[in-house]
Every structure is written in C-alpha cells, then in structure tokens.
C-alpha cells in the first residue's frame, strides 16, 4: 500500500445558492483556495474525480459542465461518481495506489434546493417496488427511528441530545447553515414534523460544494507540515430491500470500519448522519466510545449539502490533524436509504 494523505480542504455551504445547479460559481473560488493552501497549481494534480447527481441538478451531464472550473484544457485525467464526493476520494485513493497518479483533487457539489429534495431522493430507491410509491427520505428515516424507540435501542431523549449538540456545535462552524445554543428540552419542545421525527432531527436542506486534495506521502506539497495520512479507507453496502434489513443496525458501517483497520485510538469522529438517530446507530457500529469527540463541526444536522456532506466530514476530520488538535481522526460518509451504504476513512498524524 502507498501512504496517501489529505493535504487540502475547502468548502462552501448555504441554505439557498442563487446560481447554477452545477455550482460552478462556488467551485471556482474553492479551487483558488486549495491552490493557496497547497502552493500547487492544476499542473501538480495527477487525477481529478467528482461526485454529483444529474437528478439533483435537473440537467444532464452536470458534472461535465462543472469541469470548466478545473481548467481542463489541455485534457486532464478525470472521473466521476454519481455518489457523495467521499466515494470520489476513494476512487482517487485507488488511482494513487495503482501508481497511475501521485496526487488528486476530488470534489462534490449539490444544489439540494433546486427541487423537493426528500422527493427527488426517491429516485435512489428500487425502481420497481419502491420508487412508484414515492417514499420520501424523511418518512423512511421515521420508520427507522420508531423501530429503535419501540425496541428500546434508543429513545427520543438520546435523539434530542444528538440534535441539541449538533445545533450547538454548528454555531461555531462558519459554514454551517444551522447553529444556535440548544438544550435537549429545546429540542423536545419542538412539534413533530414527521411523527416520530422533529425538524431538528432531520438534516437541513443545504446547497454547497467542497473539494479535497490528496497526495502520496512521497509527493506532499511543501506547504503541508502535518498531513493527515489515511491509515485505512473502506466502504460497504447493505441490501436495497428494507424488509431484509434490521433497520436499527448498519452492518455495512461496521464492516467498513473493520476493513479500514478499526477505530481504536480515534479522538475525533465526523459522522455523516442526516438524522439524529442515525448518529446513535453509527456510534455503536463504529465502536466509538464516550471519549470520542463526535461531530465538532455540527455534522449533517447542522449542514448537509448533498453529494459533498460526506466529503466534508473527511475534510473536517483531516483539519483536526493539521491543526494539531488530534493525532487520529475518522471521517464517515453515507449514501442510499437509512444508512444503507457507508464509507469510513481513518487518518492519523505521521509518526
């Protein structure tokens, strides 16, 4: 295995982005910021990969038009996943493992506000038996939340604790769209939005884009003094059939954590949990104890731009290492319905 490190991270998040559905107006300054962080130019990047969705953008080949932001003439080596940018990072990590590239820039973007997000996401479901019913993501998460409550796996108070902490942490994150000092009682006083869920249990609709630079550790930018070296990265998926899953568990998250080398010693974990109870599931499946600082950024409940919120978790976790706040951190991304698919990226400071 080649050691690869996260060496650059930039993001933009907002409630409503007044501009193109490929967010090219956000990607241009994000790339500028990365060149300043790394001291690199586009010529130092060996591979480019993005995560986005045409269903979200409402236009075909939206990822191709976004490539203009990269300055792709003369031609670049480029790829795309119809998934969160965290999976684009996984593809780029593999590309560096093959030796075909020494560095990569990965990005994700999503204008969630362009359509009715929870309805548009019905397109990610089984097209024969589920999409024709147009089940929205909030209702599906509600089924999962109630199962856990009624089986005694978690309770509304534990969910409210997650929501309150996420909102409170979000206030310190300049990019988060939701943030204010919030108590558990404040959360429980909110009306039910989709019984058993309150709005604060659900991630806010967020537009945004984010990008990360990764590089083989023998090709680091000179400006990077404390790289976040990826010690393990893996992703797994559970059945698309809701009835065949125990929705109170996420075996794919546990399998990804195990394949990434486990979570021992992780001090900070950025979990992509778009619903409060999903953070509770993930803590259990990833084996994160009470001493782990979970979602200091506020996580997805504070801000959740589609197709980059997972990538942002990896960037936030990497930043804790650059800043010297932690020696070992974890970034997680999810995709699909009710934590169906999960990616775990563990990073550490170089010895």
């Amino acid at each position: 295995m080649r050691d690869v490190a996260v060496v650059g991270f930039a993001q933009r998040q907002m409630r409503r982005f007044d501009g193109s559905s490929n967010t090219i107006e956000l990607l241009v300054p994000i790339l500028q910021e990365l060149w300043e962080q790394t001291g690199w130019t586009k010529d130092d990047i060996g591979f480019w990969c993005s995560g986005s969705s045409d269903y979200l953008a409402g236009r075909s080949f939206s990822f191709v038009t976004a490539i203009d932001a990269l300055g792709a003439v003369p031609p670049i080596s480029e790829s795309h996943v119809e998934m969160d940018g965290a999976w684009a990072l996984y593809e780029a990590w593999l590309k560096i493992q093959t030796g075909e590239a020494d560095s990569a820039l990965v990005y994700g973007f999503g204008k969630s506000s362009a359509s009715t997000l929870r309805r548009t996401l019905a397109l990610q479901l089984d097209p024969y038996t589920l999409t024709p019913l147009w089940p929205d993501t909030v209702s599906l998460a509600g089924l999962q939340a109630r199962l856990g409550i009624e089986q005694g796996v978690w309770d509304e108070k534990a969910m409210a604790e997650v929501a309150a902490r996420s909102r409170t942490s979000g206030a310190d994150n300049e990019y988060a769209v939701r943030g204010a000092a919030t108590s558990v009682d404040d959360v429980l006083a909110q009306p039910l939005f989709a019984d058993p869920l309150r709005k604060w249990d659900c991630a806010p609709i967020t537009d945004g884009a984010a990008a990360i630079v990764i590089a083989a550790t023998d090709r680091l930018p000179e400006k990077c003094t404390r790289p976040a070296v990826i010690s393990g990265i893996a992703h797994n998926v559970d059945s698309p059939s809701l009835g065949l899953r125990d929705l109170t568990r996420s075996p794919s998250a546990a399998a990804a954590a195990s394949a990434a080398g486990g979570t021992d010693g992780v001090q900070v974990a950025e979990l992509h949990a778009p619903f409060s109870h999903q953070e509770l599931i993930l803590r259990r499946e990833l084996g994160l104890g009470e001493d782990v600082d979970v979602n200091p950024s506020g996580g997805a409940l504070a801000s959740n731009p589609m197709f980059c919120a997972g990538l942002i978790r990896i960037g936030e976790a990497a930043r804790r290492i650059w800043d010297g706040d932690a020696d070992r951190t974890l970034g997680h991304a999810t995709s699909g319905v009710a934590l169906q698919q999960n990616l775990v990226c563990v990073m550490e400071a170089q010895a």
Partner: protein, 321 residues
C-alpha cells in the same frame, strides 16, 4: 419567468420520463399477482418468505425460484406520519408510510396506510390491502392498506393473475432552474435583441455565450462586449433523421456559428437556404423573433440565414474547428 430579488434568471423546469423496464421472472409474478388482488412472496434459502420477492437470495445469491402466496392482511411493524403528502405518493391526504408484515410472510414491506390521523396508527395494528379500482400493472395495483377493523368490507376476492412482463414507472421532477450570473447577463441582453460576449480575463478569448468558467483557465469570463449578429458557419451537419420533439421538417442544417469577433462558436440553425447549399465559411446573419415573442433564451434568434457576402477564407477559421 421571474427574477425575484435575485441577481440571476430563474425558470420553473419540469422533467418527465416514463422508465419502461422488463420485470424479469420474479417481479413479473409479483406484479401480475397484485393485479389479481394476490400478494406473492418468494421463498428464501433459509425458508423465510420475503415480500416483495427478491430476484436473488440475500444469503446464497442464487436465483429465487419458489413463489408462495401470502395473505393480504397483516400488521404494522413501524410507521411514520406524512402530514403533507408529496406529489404522486399513494394518497393525497395525510397518511402513514409503514412497514407491513403480511400474514404468511417473514419480511415486512413498505406501503401506505390510510388511517386518517397519527392517533389511529400504532405498531402491531392490523391492516388489510385496499386494491386499485383498475389494475395498471405496477405495485400501485395495491393502492394502500387500511385498518382491518374499518367498517368497510374486505375486498379479498382473488382473481386470475395475468402476465405482466413490462413495468412502467413515470417520473416527473420539478425544479427551480437558475442560470449562472454570466448566462443571466447574456439572457437579459438577448431579450433586448442584443448579443453580449465576455472575455476570459486570462487568455482573452471572447466567449459567446459567456461562461461561469473558461475551460482553459478555470476563471469566470468578464467585461461584457456587444457583439454583431453576423458571423460564419464553421462546420455543420444536415439533419435527415426524424426524432421525438423535432420542430423542423428534415432535411435542415444544424451548424456551428462563429460570430465576428468571437473565439468560441455556438450551435444554431441555418435556414432560408437549401440545406445542400450550406458551406463551411458561409457568411450568415441572425434572424430575430419579433420583440413580443422574445424570452431570455437563445431561441430569440429564430435561425441564421446567408448574407450573400463572399465566404470566409479557411485560414481565418481553421483554429475554431
């Protein structure tokens, strides 16, 4: 089209498509069954009966071949309340989405329960199928579930299953579509019958239409410049093949038009000339729609037609091909 307190142009956009898919041997039996008011499950390798039947066993990954009818009554395993139903959901008044475990099945499946209020919902409650008035060959032939103690009488007479092999899922998505700032400046000028180009501040190339980023340098174009509505055909094709949504009778010419002073050509129509007389280098002029018919789109230019001037020399547009 409106511009509500926004720097950029917005327009409602609706995308529609009927996805037509072959169902395969397993789902074909399942959906044919629903049309006859019969729910059919698949027998898994561990003996459990799964609804809907999966094509492949989740443990062994072998094809599922044994089918078994189950009851159309069962109990709610979990539910969530939909206070404001979205377009195309099973019911247009508040309802519950639920996982329902039918009698005789071992795995629950997702559907709607028409219970009236969240107070009438509880896990474990008994529900029974309400069938669609007219089967259409989709999972919607099972319209929804209703509380089994409702006063309505059960409609459980099983018919003779037909053979549904193709499923059609209609997808309709509505968007608020926004243009980029550069496209918006361009669109607003078009409405006034003007064409605005913008230069890349790095390579100085003149883009028509302007772009959110120059694909060479990755920076937005800037400094609007009024362009003439004359130019040349760089390259073109004669459209002979009819297609869905075609507005002009073939044969006609679709061409790259390079406006005088521009560095980037755009695609438009060449009319007012026999398709077979169109040439590379031919000089053309925009034919505008009447002002009353104009919007913010490139369609404000109806088409381009020849000016009759001498053709441009190949060397003058060689690098634009």
């Amino acid at each position: 089209m409106t511009t509500p307190a926004s720097a950029v142009l917005h327009q409602p956009l609706t995308l529609e498509f009927d996805y037509t898919r072959s169902l395969g041997p397993v789902l074909s039996q399942y959906i044919s069954g629903l049309g006859a008011k019969q729910v059919i499950g698949g027998v898994l390798s561990d003996g459990r009966v799964a609804v809907p039947p999966p094509d492949f066993d989740p443990a062994t990954h072998d094809a599922v071949t044994e089918m078994k009818p189950v009851a159309s009554e069962g109990s709610v395993v979990t539910w969530s309340w939909v206070a404001e139903p979205l377009a195309d959901q099973p019911l247009d008044h508040p309802f519950a989405f639920a996982l329902v475990l039918l009698d005789g099945a071992d795995t629950p499946f997702l559907h709607a329960v028409d219970a009236g209020s969240p107070e009438a919902m509880s896990s474990g409650m008994r529900v029974r199928a309400r069938w669609a008035d007219e089967p259409t060959g989709s999972v919607r032939d099972l319209a929804c579930f209703e509380p089994a103690d409702a006063s309505t009488s059960p409609d459980q007479e099983v018919g003779e299953p037909g053979e549904t092999k193709i499923g059609i899922t209609s997808v309709r998505l509505s968007y608020d579509y926004a243009a980029s700032p550069e496209e918006s400046v361009f669109g607003k000028a078009l409405k006034e019958g003007r064409i605005l180009g913008q230069r890349c501040p790095v390579c100085q190339k003149m883009y028509v239409p302007p772009r959110g980023a120059c694909p060479v340098d990755g920076v937005p174009t800037s400094d609007p410049v009024e362009m003439p509505d004359t130019g040349i055909v760089t390259t073109f094709c004669i459209v002979n093949v009819p297609f869905l949504g075609q507005r002009i009778k073939p044969p006609y010419v679709s061409a790259y038009v390079l406006l005088d002073g521009a560095d980037i050509a755009f695609l438009h129509l060449i009319l007012g000339v026999d398709a077979h007389d169109v040439r590379m280098g031919m000089r053309v002029r925009a034919v505008w729609k009447p002002e009353a018919e104009r919007s913010f789109s490139m369609e404000n230019i109806s088409h381009f037609e020849p000016t009759g001037e001498p053709d441009a020399d190949y060397e003058t547009y060689r690098r634009h091909l």
